[in-house]
Symmetry: C2
Subunit: 318 residues, 2 copies
C-alpha cells in the first residue's frame, strides 16, 4: 500500500481532469474532498466516479474491497470552504481560461490553510500569469497531468519565478508518494514538455499523409507496432542509448549526418489544419476504426495501459 | 501456429538484422537458409542464434520444444547458390553501402529462382538506386525492418518505380503471414517513415535539454511514463482520435491554434551534435542508467516488448 505524504487533499473543479485526480489521490490513501460551484457538475462527477470504479472492478483492475475503500475516502462539497478545510494540498482543475484561474487562485489563497500547497492542472497557460499578483505566490505552482491522470502517471511540475523551492520539492515528493511520475519543468515554455514532443510527432505524421507517402493506418502502425513499443519502456534518450553498443555518445556521433539529412527534409511548417486536411485524416481514421466508438477505444486503451504499467512494476528497468 | 505464405526463404548477410530475420522466418515455420561470404560471420551468427533461443527459453518466452523446432528449420551456407536453391523469398541484409548492395542484388538476380522475390533490409538507401539497372528490377523492393525484427513487428515495404505491383502485394501478405506488421511506403523519402518520426522526437528532446527546460531523465519520463504508454497501443492518429469525444476531426479543429503556437516555438534546426551537446546528453543518460549495461537494458526491453505484444494479442484493439 502506498503511503501518501499528505493525508488531506482538495480537488477544485470536477471536469475529467479533476475527477481523474480524485481517483489518483483517493487511490493513494488521501482523504479527498471535491468541490465545484455547479451542483450539476458535482452530481455528474459522483456518477462518473461510481461508474469508473465499477468498470475497473469488472475489468479485474482493482478488487471490490479496494474500490470501496477508495470511495469511502471521497467526499463532495458545494461550499469551497468545506473542501479546503483541512487540505494540505489543493489541486485546482477549473476551466483553461486565464481570468477564471486567476479568480480561483485568489479564493484559494484567501481560504486555504496558510501551509497548503496550491497547484494548478493548467495545460497551456503560464503559471506565472495565473498567480502574478497573489500574496501567496510562493506556495503556488503548476502540476499538469496527462489525461487521464489515474491511468497515465506523468505530471509536469513547473514552479513560478517566485515559488518557494521547498514547495516544489514537497510537491514532487507528494506526487511520487501517490504513485505519479512528476517531472520538473524548469521554466515556462509554450506547450511545456509533453505537448511539444507530441506536436513534433503530430506535425510529421500529418505531413507524411498529406504528401502521399503512406496511409493514416500505416503511419499509425509505425508507432503502435514499432517506435511506441519501445517508448512505453524507454524514453527518447533511453532508446538512443540502446541503439549502439557504445551507448548514446557513440550513437549520436555515428548517426549525426543521417539525422541532419532527415531533419533537413522534414517540413518545419505546421500542418494546414484546413477542412480538406482534417477530412483526409478523418477518413483515414474512419477506415482504420470501423464502427468502434471513441469511448470503446478509450476503455481498451486505459485497461491495457494499466496492464503495461503492471508489467513494468513486476519487471522494472534493471 | 502461423502458416507462412512461403516455405523456403533465404537470408543473405548475417549482421544483427540478418540474424533477427532468421528468427522471424524460422519462428513462422519457414525453412530458412542463411548465407554470408565470411565464414567467421556465419559462425558468429550460429552462436548468436543458439544463445538467443536459450535466453528466450530461460525468460519463459518460448518453450524448449518450440526453440528446437525453430533451430531445426535453420541452415547456414557458405555458398550463396545453396542458400538460394529453393528460396521463394530472399531477404538481403548486407552492409548499408550502395556499391555492396548493388553487387549483392546483381548476384541475387542472376542466381535466385526467377519467381523469387528479392527484398532488401536497407535502412536509408534509395531502393531505386540499388537495383537501377537490374534486369529483374520488377521483383525487387525494400523491406526495412525495425531492429531487432523478431521483437518489433513493423517493416517498411517500399516498391521501386518499376516493381511489379503484385510483388509488393505478395510481399505484404507474406510478411503478415510471418507475424510482422508491414507498412507500405509509396515512394522513397529520406529516412522513410520510421526514422522521420523518430528524428522529430530526437530533435525536440535534445532541444529541451540543451535549452535547460528539463533533465535528460525527465524528458525521458514524459515518453516512458506518459506519451509512450499510449503509443504502444495507438499511433499518432489513433491517439488524436481519442483526444476529443467527437474524434480526430473535432480534436484538430479545436486545437489547431494551440498546435500552431507550439510548433512555431519548436526549434526547426537539427541539434548541433557537437562534442559538448553529446557529452551533456551522455552525462544525463549516465545519471539515469547507473551501472546498468546497454546489453542488460536491451534484454529487459526485448522481454517486455514481447509481453506488451502478448497483452495486445490477448486483448486486441476493439
Amino acid at each position: 500500500m502506498i503511503q501518501p505524504m499528505f493525508r488531506n487533499v482538495a480537488v477544485i473543479g470536477t471536469g475529467i481532469i479533476g475527477r481523474g485526480w480524485v481517483r489518483v489521490f483517493a487511490g493513494a490513501g488521501c482523504r479527498t474532498r471535491l468541490y465545484d460551484r455547479d451542483q450539476t457538475q458535482l452530481d455528474k462527477a459522483k456518477t462518473w466516479l461510481e461508474a469508473s470504479y465499477k468498470a475497473d472492478v469488472s475489468d479485474g483492475l482493482i478488487s471490490p474491497d479496494e474500490a470501496g475503500s477508495c470511495r469511502a475516502r471521497i467526499s463532495v462539497h458545494s461550499q469551497i470552504e468545506d473542501a479546503l478545510d483541512e487540505a494540505e494540498y489543493v489541486q485546482e482543475s477549473g476551466p483553461e481560461v486565464l481570468e477564471i484561474k486567476r479568480e480561483i487562485f485568489t479564493r484559494l489563497d484567501t481560504l486555504a490553510r496558510p501551509s497548503a500547497i496550491l497547484a494548478s492542472s493548467a495545460s497551456s497557460l503560464d503559471m506565472n500569469e495565473i498567480v502574478a499578483d497573489l500574496p501567496g505566490i510562493s506556495r503556488c505552482l503548476l502540476a499538469h497531468p496527462f489525461n487521464p491522470p489515474h491511468i497515465i502517471p506523468v505530471v509536469e511540475v513547473m514552479p513560478t519565478k517566485r515559488t518557494n523551492p521547498e514547495v516544489t520539492t514537497r510537491t514532487l515528493a507528494f506526487l511520487r508518494s501517490t504513485g505519479q511520475k512528476p517531472v520538473l519543468v524548469n521554466f515556462y515554455l509554450t506547450g511545456y514538455l509533453i505537448n511539444r514532443l507530441q506536436a513534433a510527432v503530430v506535425r510529421e505524421a500529418i505531413h507524411l499523409v498529406t504528401r502521399g507517402a503512406a496511409s493514416v493506418e500505416d503511419v499509425d502502425a509505425v508507432v503502435s507496432d514499432g517506435l511506441g513499443l519501445r517508448w512505453a519502456l524507454l524514453g527518447n534518450f533511453g532508446v538512443n542509448n540502446t541503439n549502439a553498443d557504445g551507448g548514446v555518445r557513440e550513437y549520436y556521433s555515428r548517426y549525426k549526418d543521417t539525422y541532419r539529412s532527415i531533419l533537413e527534409d522534414l517540413d518545419p511548417a505546421p500542418p494546414a489544419f484546413d477542412p480538406e486536411t482534417i477530412e483526409l485524416i478523418g477518413r483515414g481514421v474512419d477506415a482504420m476504426s470501423g464502427k468502434t466508438t471513441v469511448a470503446e477505444v478509450c476503455r481498451w486503451r486505459d485497461r491495457l495501459v494499466r496492464k503495461i504499467r503492471d508489467l513494468k512494476t513486476g519487471d522494472p528497468h534493471p
